[in-house]
Amino acid sequence: MDLGAHAPLLVLGLPFAAFLLLAVVAPLRRAGRAAGAVSILAAAVALVAALGVWRDGARRTLTWAWIPADGGPMATVGLLVDPLSSAMLVLVTLVSLLVQVYSLAYLADERAPSLGRYYTYQSLFAFSMLGLVLSPSFVQMFVFWELVGLCSYLLIGYWYERPSAARAAVKAFWITKLGDLGFVVGIVMLWGATGTFEFQALFTKAQEHALAIEGLGTIMFLIYLGAVGKSAQFPLHVWLPDAMEGPTPVSALIHAATMVTAGVFLVARAQPLFALTPEVLTLIGWVGAFTALLAASMACVEGDIKRVLAYSTVSQLGYMMAAAGAGAAYASVLHLLTHGLFKALLFLGAGAVIHAVGTNDIFRMGGLFRVMPQTGVLFIVGTLALAGLPPLAGFFSKEAVLAGVWEARMTWPFLMLALTAFLTAFYMFRVVFIAFFGRARAPGHPHEAPWLMRGPLWLLAVLTVLVGLRLGLAGGDAQHGPGWLAPASVAWALGGILLAWATYQRRAVDPARLAGTFPLSLLDFLARRRYGLDALYDGLYRGFILGFSRLIGWIDRYLVDGVLNFLSAGTLRAGDLVRRIQSGQAQDYVYGVAFGVLLLFVWAQWWRR
């Protein structure tokens, strides 16, 4: 048997097998830690297989007919292995495995059945995300796209007893669905125009200039809408910060490293199609850059460590989308991969901090560096990578993004991204200085996290550094921007760090006064209110959907029910009237019979005449 061809199948099949096992064998699931062991084992073997696929580097396509039709199958399922998907395979399995190991310690206090439920969802998520990455056609991608959405919903609402978590789960589900609606309409329209869902067939047509379809721009825009919802682009980004209600490892895996990047992956995967519609690409670039800046500004005023990271994820997703919009798919995917590593590191680090102090509020932490030096160092490594300092992974991918946007002559998006880079360094170091070096005392006795949690952190940090070094040494195709770009981006990052240091460490600048001066005060006011977007959605929801529901409710209650109530009341009343005939006295009945017979006689006499 050719193992090479089947390794991707193994990667995909193992988490699914683990999910099925945990879903069907209830005693195993309820055992908690044993369920975790099964899931972790599957993820570990899948990681090894994924590494094999990645090392192999061959392009492979395995397909099976799915929806048979007269002229060949209407849709197929299968696996598409190429450098893009195999790199994603490694990222997904790696982060998945580390997060699952980490969760063993992080969720140690959970009851065994809920822990088992957690690992069941985790396995299902790993399977769905891998299936999405390996999809050779839009239909299969959509199916897995929805599956990861479902897993996201389930895991955000993991602590479903909390009303806020349940609400956040529903919000995430509905807002991403809004984008998915565009996605599914888009792929069906594309199928209507070309008759195929297959990426390969579509790309071949695109290369042969056989895709001059009327309304291709609309189709690609609709498909992009799916990415807007999933990758939390403006204006559908509001669900991601709320998604932080889920357990922190879930945020690290789904809402930082993997699922939210599915939108970027989609744009990268369909790059040959998007290339045919430059106007959509320009829109993607602008929206991406705007999202990056908007989210960064909101991160600057946030006091919840996980929400800061969530906004920074939105911001970095904006970076990736901007690069994709500028036609630099390589930079976009590179940033996706490196961001997956260091954002998972940051989230897991934040999880270790939250685990130790029991609060998300950075102003109630402080001086944590002394009690948790390892976590502190690791968190700072992640922060430096996110801020974009060499030689860490984030620097090179960020520079590639900026270079790509600059090359595409998108000056305004470039400026927005540059400002975002400055803000990123500022808000991340704001968290570091307040939480790890601040003067506030954390409640209780914070202590270093157990090894099960520190291990994945160390691994991710080492990988962040190694990937950075590797990229730095390889140089080459990533850096084709102007020569001043690298020093400039380092300068922006350092400027941000310096400002954060001066404000929150030296206290040379009073943050309250900084936020009080005119143009900043307005921004501060708006950013603290999230630019009114949440309120807008809330208002739309309350005004439009609830209003509509009320109208429907009124119609149901008073029109539909009214007719039925009228009918039933009439029946009751008529019955009340008629039942008096039924006197229960045999003589009355005999009267009736005699009278009837009399009538019959009279009628018979009259009729005979």
Binding site: R579, R580, S583, G584, Q585, A586, Y591
Partner: protein, 99 residues
């Protein structure tokens, strides 16, 4: 005497019986009324048998008489049973089946 005299007598007896059934308040009176109505039928049957020279009418009459006896036995038993439970045989008050 012609057939019509018998038939008129039978009709009269039947009408009296029906009147009794409809107006009597005592359950035993009701049963008596029913007896009269059945005997009116018997008169009819015997009259037709006599004037048509057909024995079948007489046979039917015998049947009717025996059935009437049985009916009276059952009817009186029911009346007694009702009296034991309700302590009354007033037809007006036996209205358990009222709707």
């Amino acid at each position: 005497m012609s057939l019509y005299a018998y038939l008129t007598l039978a009709a009269l007896v039947f009408a009296i019986g029906l009147f009794g059934v409809l107006t009597r308040r005592n359950a035993v009176g009701l049963l008596l009324g029913i007896e009269l109505m059945l005997n009116a039928v018997n008169i009819n049957l015997v009259a037709f048998a006599r004037f048509r020279a057909d024995v079948a009418g007489l046979v039917f009459t015998l049947f009717t008489i025996s059935i009437t006896v049985a009916e009276v036995a059952v009817g009186l038993a029911i009346v007694i049973a009702i009296f034991r439970v309700r302590r009354t045989v007033e037809a007006d008050r036996l209205d358990l089946l009222r709707g």
